[in-house]
């Protein structure tokens, strides 16, 4: 009995040490990213991991201006906001129909067609997409990127909504109809609010992927006033420069919005990933 207890203690200690080592491996690059923003190239080269000698935000101000940050932030925000709303509206309505009319052949066909979008990434058809965007006269607009994001993220979201809606009893809707509510009213007033958990999951997961999407803007947004944050990072960072530490504030500004989002909503974000996986 006693040996069992010591055994457990050893396993516990071993596990804890292992996590600590892994924690350091994860944390050191993040720490390095942060402290280097306050250092000169010389200071960073001599003592890369020490705390900065002085906390001056001058480098941040310069990066902020060089990236035209407020403008880039707004562009990214507009794309993400409207894409997420679009995904939720399209997929909730679509998932609802595909669930409630799930037995019909058309619904089955549409569902399979949409599922193929999960399996086969849109990146393969980016050239055809280029032609479509040109044809619609949407080249170099935020609208184009938003629509693409909606289409790319619809399949998984529809899948989530469709399976969640089976947990909402149809009787509820019937009852409302008997009380005289019309079809759309029943959906928006009764069914939609009940889908809050999936709406939250879809919103969180899509905000992360859409905010961090680089390839869409890279192909479809050319002019600088419409560039998103990542394009500004791409434009400025990575070029050869002796003043290499000045790149670090730009990188931090590049990831800051989602990092803040994560710090505030950590429980919900991790919960969203869990829900997304379990249902998916």
């Amino acid at each position: 009995m006693k040996s069992d207890k010591t055994n457990k203690k050893i396993i516990h200690l071993l596990s804890f040490t292992l996590m600590l080592v892994l924690g350091l491996i994860v944390a050191i690059p993040l720490y390095y990213l942060l402290v280097t923003t306050f250092k000169t190239p010389l200071e960073a080269a001599v003592s890369p991991l020490s705390l900065p000698k002085s906390l001056s935000f001058g480098a941040y101000t310069a990066a902020f201006q060089k990236m035209e940050y407020p403008r880039a932030f707004m562009n990214t925000f507009i794309i993400t906001f409207f894409s997420v709303i679009g995904v939720i509206l399209c997929s909730s309505m679509g998932g609802y129909v595909l669930n409630r009319k799930g037995d019909s052949k058309t619904a089955k066909f549409i569902f399979i067609m949409i599922l193929s979008g999960i399996m086969f990434p849109y990146q393969m058809s980016v050239l055809g997409l280029y032609k479509v965007i040109q044809g619609l006269n949407l080249m170099n607009t935020l609208t184009a990127v938003a629509f693409i994001n909606i289409a790319v993220n619809i399949p998984f979201a529809t899948f989530m909504f469709r399976s969640f809606i089976s947990t909402i009893p149809g009787e509820l809707e019937e009852a409302a109809k008997i009380d005289g509510a019309g079809f759309y009213r029943v959906f928006w007033v009764i069914t939609f609010p009940l889908m809050k958990p999936v709406i939250a999951t879809v919103a969180i997961l899509n905000s992360l992927t859409i905010w961090n999407d680089f390839m869409g803007p890279l192909y479809f947004i050319q002019s600088r006033p419409k560039n998103v944050i990542l394009q500004e990072v791409y434009r400025n960072v990575g070029q050869f420069s002796t003043d290499w530490t000045s790149m670090f504030p730009m990188m931090v500004l590049g990831v800051l919005p989602l990092l803040v989002f994560y710090l505030l909503m950590q429980k919900y974000i991790i919960g969203g990933v869990m829900n997304g996986a379990l249902k998916g």
């Binding site: 994860v26 080269a45 679509g94 393969m124 058809s125 989602l258």
Partner: protein, 314 residues
């Protein structure tokens, strides 16, 4: 704000009662059809039609250099298969997809099991391990390019220098460049896989473990014969989604190696982008179609493998 938008969008549909009566006379299903319209319209215009277009244009000489586009038959495909960079691209994308996913999961699964037990600071560890996943892959690539650089200030070389190891040109050597790409992505994404395992672990019934304790099972046997089979759903999700997104590897290559040194870290999508930037659109389209075929094959193999495994479990 969300609700405001919904109410606003609702209004064009308004006067639902009268609408419904009229619709009922035409067909019972029509309101359902109307609700499908936004999804179908966007999906068709921005996913299905581009796919068809890509297939069609892969048989043409569509480019920036001439204003006329004409069908050239299989020309692009002949060119693509005599272009050795394509095979480098396919090979790198596949190596990346497979090795990255395996390493991520080999780390994530045990970590999830440990963090599912009563360990001190386990919530802190979970939050920390997941945090790189919210960062942009592009920025992570740039960050690691400074850490791995062979310049005097390269952090990793400085750190291994403490142990007396000679500096290594991680990104400049074709042999280590792809490995470096994979390691940064394992660093960034194992926490995501870990969270999915945690979700699955929480759904395993305690009874299974208690019953096996009575039967005198060791912890190791419990892990092998209870935990792993019970984790089958999470393993499947992680491997399939990881492989599919692995084939799409692009951002990290752009920021970490730009495909170099030479062509040693080019992937299907970075090659496609360089053909696109050169203005050879038709040729780039044929890369897209090859990419489609590779991903169908990979998905097919994976699903077949899982079917065999699941049949054996039952």
């Amino acid at each position: 704000m969300l609700w405001g938008t919904i109410l606003f969008i609702k209004s064009p549909f308004s006067n639902p009662e009268r609408n419904d009566k009229v619709k009922n006379k035409i067909s019972i299903n029509s309101p359902y059809i109307l609700m499908m319209v936004p999804l179908l319209a966007i999906y068709l215009v921005f996913y299905i039609i581009p796919l068809l277009y890509t297939a069609i244009y892969s048989f043409t000489d569509w480019s920036n250099y001439s204003s006329v586009t004409s069908f050239t038959g299989l020309n692009n495909y002949q060119k693509i298969f005599s272009d050795y960079t394509l095979f480098i691209g396919i090979k790198n994308s596949l190596i990346y997809a497979v090795v990255n996913v395996l390493m991520q999961n080999v780390i994530a699964l045990p970590v999830a099991v440990i963090l599912n037990s009563k360990l001190r600071f386990r919530n802190g560890f979970r939050a920390l391990f997941f945090s790189p996943a919210v960062l942009s892959t592009l920025v992570v690539g740039f960050l690691w390019s400074y850490i791995l650089t062979s310049s005097d200030y390269g952090l990793l070389n400085k750190m291994i220098g403490v142990f007396g190891i000679e500096p290594v040109n991680w990104l400049g050597n074709p042999k280590t460049a792809l490995a470096a790409i994979i390691l940064t992505q394992v660093w960034q994404w194992f926490g995501w896989a870990m969270v999915i395992y945690l979700a699955n672990l929480q759904s395993i019934s305690e009874d299974l473990y208690e019953a096996s304790m009575i039967d005198g099972c060791s912890r190791w046997k419990q892990f092998l014969y209870i935990t792993i089979p019970q984790l089958a759903p999470a393993i499947k999700i992680n491997l399939v989604t990881g492989m599919i997104s692995g084939l799409k590897v692009f951002d990290i290559v752009v920021s970490l190696t730009k495909g170099g040194p030479g062509y040693s870290t080019e992937t299907i999508l970075t090659l496609m982008f360089s053909k696109f930037s050169e203005g050879n659109y038709g040729y780039a389209a044929s890369f897209g179609i090859v990419f489609l075929i590779v991903s169908i094959l990979l998905a097919g193999v994976l699903l077949r493998l899982f079917k065999v495994w699941e049949d054996r479990l039952n």
